[in-house]
Symmetry: C2
């Protein structure tokens, strides 16, 4: 093994499928870019702020992205924008489609969230193998190749640190080792839940073992919760028969030690406090404040994991049992359509709409609509709703972290109550001060909605303060710093 460089200025490379900006052309044919939204982008921004020389590699998604990709691949130099150094990897269209729409979503996503209706689905077979061999593997290799090109063009600066992100890129560590051997620090961060060993076993053998072996070629495998880290350790032990230390979070693999660590992702509280004061949000607040009664809010993609239908059914039952609440509360559901190409998702979107209609037909009055379904793509409107909710419902069937819970708590100005599923990753940190629900129990959720809507002000205040404190205690800057410290410690120990 080559001698390791523990220089804190070692070259840092972030690899993720989605990048921090998206390029386009305006009407005059000039290049423009828009910042990517979403928690992962914010989080990785925090990571890249820790080092001057960070380069971020992501998939080219738009036509203009593809042009940027071509230019940077000719010069070998990353594209600089808003202080970020970006390199876009262009994939073959069919391969990318197979990776993204056939292997990562739905298969890995649904397996890792435990969402299959197992008597009927999945139906794995040759199509799965094709998506793996002609989609997932080549796209992942293409990423490793982009890393190799980058580092070849800038050989100075010691051993690189390569931070690979999420379930689209599980095979990247394997392809990186083919190119760099052990002369690079590699980590892979899994941002979605890790299932227990039997759940993982749904996958065909080549995915099941291929992914685990690739992940163990990394030096650190990271998750959002202790629970996911533990499930991963059990999965590799039972699938590959390797030695593990569950307490210490160490897996012995091919003569090395792999660290398996929880780093609960967070947000930048200042960002959300500033957003809450911004003109765009202030404008949109009026429409939110006009809604009758207390504000019950949910903000989600229409994902099978989010448990949107049971949320409406619980609300229905609450109104039935506590008819005095009619007109005293409005349920604002900010839902972002998601993955409509996947049949299970198209069906789910239809069931959501039907259940909203049912509840509204049953309980509406002339002056009051029980549920407002709001599907505009308008993040500032969501922040306006964050500021004003009395109760936020996060009842996910399973959820890697759920950053909305953290964002909304920080932006909220009403000491709003958080109802939180015990199966959301955020529950490890926030559960103590939230009202916990079992996502499968409609009556419990109905009663919890009522409890939250009628909670005395002093208890609301006490809980809301504790929630804010807990989030400020672990911000996205901490999240990034702790990882970089652990990387230094790893390199010191094994370098």
């Amino acid at each position: 093994m080559a001698e390791r460089d523990t220089n804190p200025d070692a070259r840092l490379v972030i690899v993720s499928n989605r990048g921090p900006v998206r390029f386009s052309r305006n009407d005059s044919g000039e290049r423009e870019h828009s910042r990517g939204a979403g928690g992962l982008v914010t989080a990785l921004n925090a990571l890249s702020r820790q080092r001057r020389e960070t380069v971020w590699i992501a998939s080219a998604q738009s036509d203009e992205d593809a042009r940027v990709a071509k230019e940077t691949s000719e010069t070998g130099e990353p594209h600089e924008v808003e202080g970020l150094r970006i390199l876009l990897a262009e994939h073959e269209t069919d391969a990318y489609d197979l990776m993204y729409n056939h292997l990562a979503n739905p298969l890995l996503w649904l397996v890792q969230h435990g969402l299959y209706d197992l008597p009927y689905s999945p139906e794995l077979g040759d199509e799965t193998r094709r998506a793996w061999e002609e989609g997932y593997l080549p796209v992942n290799e293409n990423f490793a190749e982009a890393v190799a090109r980058l580092l070849k063009n800038s050989p100075e600066g010691g051993e690189p640190i390569i931070l690979v992100h999420d379930y689209q890129l599980y095979m990247v560590p394997h392809f990186l080792r083919e190119r760099f051997g052990r002369d690079a620090f590699v980590s892979l961060f899994v941002h979605i839940p890790w299932p227990e060993p039997e759940g993982w076993r749904i996958l065909p053998g080549y995915v099941r073992e291929g992914v685990l072996k690739s992940l163990l070629e990394a030096d650190v495998v990271a998750f959002h919760t202790k629970g996911y880290a533990r499930s991963f350790i059990r999965t590799v032990r039972e699938t590959l028969g390797v030695e593990v230390d569950e307490e210490e979070g160490v897996v012995a693999y091919e003569g090395r030690e792999v660290w398996v660590r929880p780093y609960p992702i967070s947000i930048d509280p200042n960002e959300f406090e500033e957003l809450a004061r911004s003109e765009a949000v202030l404008e949109r607040e009026e429409t939110v404040k006009d809604l009758p009664g207390k504000l019950l809010l949910r903000v989600d993609r229409t994902d099978l994991s989010k448990n949107i239908v049971r949320g409406f059914r619980a609300y229905d039952r609450m109104l039935q049992r506590h008819p005095e609440m009619k007109g005293e509360v409005t349920f604002l559901a900010r839902l972002q359509p998601s993955r409509g190409d996947i049949p299970e998702y198209a069906k789910y979107a239809a069931v959501i709409e039907k259940s909203v209609q049912e509840v509204n037909q049953k309980h509406a009055t002339e002056s009051w609509e029980p549920i407002i379904l709001s599907m505009e793509d308008d993040f500032m409107l969501s922040v306006a709703a964050y500021k004003n909710y009395d109760v936020l419902l996060v009842n996910a069937v399973r959820d890697g972290m759920n950053l909305i819970a953290k964002e909304a708590v920080i932006a909220n100005e009403k000491n709003g109550v958080l109802i939180l599923s015990e199966n959301a990753g955020a529950h490890e940190e926030l559960g103590e001060h939230a009202l916990t629900v079992n996502p499968f129990d409609i009556d419990e959720q109905a009663e919890t909605l009522y409890e939250a809507l009628t909670m005395p002000e002093d208890e609301r205040t006490r809980r809301a303060e504790a929630l804010r404190e807990s989030i400020r205690f672990n911000t996205i800057e901490e999240w990034a710093e702790i990882q970089l410290k652990d990387i230094a410690a790893y390199r010191e120990q094994y370098g």
Copy 2:
């Protein structure tokens, strides 16, 4: 704690929901009885043969059962029939219905087999609580009360050994301790899979914790496989926070040690060899032997866990890829209708029938029907099919053990090939000599069907001999003996 009696002639009581005989009246008004079928009854018979004084307590199911229950409760004496001493417990009809049709099946069964379509079901709530409080608890207490009455009437013979069976009776250990304190040895045998901790967490808190605490009031908790025992240990650790020793199979609970042990259930090979030679089976063999080509067999209840639909789809794909097999094989599906009152099961039965029609319409010729769906309730016909299969398909999504695999291998006279799901409990013992399939992978199952149907004679022989040997190595007598030895060891250690 009272001094324990380690006398091997201690009184033995078996408690299970279904009993070894069912009483009825014939046309002349005389009492008759029929032997219960099914693996559990055979197994518990083997247990009761080990001790002269065994009494078996079960639910009264028929009207005549209820009369027997009343007679025995008046005299306090068990009913003797075919060398068995039976005591029937009569339950309140509504309570039994809630226990059986609302709590045990579907809820516990579907949770423990991992069969829910989690984005939509289950929808837990007050109905679940009612089934628990007004069904499951009173029926379980009624069983404990029957044990107490029996032992009060026959106080001789030292400390009783009470062996409680399966998922309908999880709360019986709790109610037994209320009556006997520690002055009884109590075990509970779980005959279905035990899920991993996250699967168990689907249940509402009162079931989740209530069941676990009751099971830990037993001295031994038993399962069919090492995997289920391990999952149980993890479940109690994560749910109750108790100390466990996963390797040794010990849980520390309230100052005591509970043993968690795998005892893989088996069959009586002699019984199946005799059955295979019986007149009833010889008669029925002709119809089986008349089927064209090789015989591909499956024998199952139409349970969501059995994976019947994917089996037909795999067969379809095999015929598509290997058209030379048309007419060279007949798929005999012996299916026993099951739990038609539960909507999920009614839907599944319809999908099964539709998929049979599709395959038959697609591939049938004038002289050949690809799939024969055989649903008569005729165990001797199943044994006739056991004798003659070339390939037996057991592709369960999940299955506690699957005794059909063991019965059929012993009765078979063709050196038939066993295709076995890696998720059947039997796979721990038989997997090495079977052809293993991932139950979710249709193409793998299609190829495995082809491989099995075209396997050279010498490999068939080698595998079939190894399978028979493995089953004869662990018969139902061994299963019973080992448990009684462990009970003696437990009483010796902690008595």
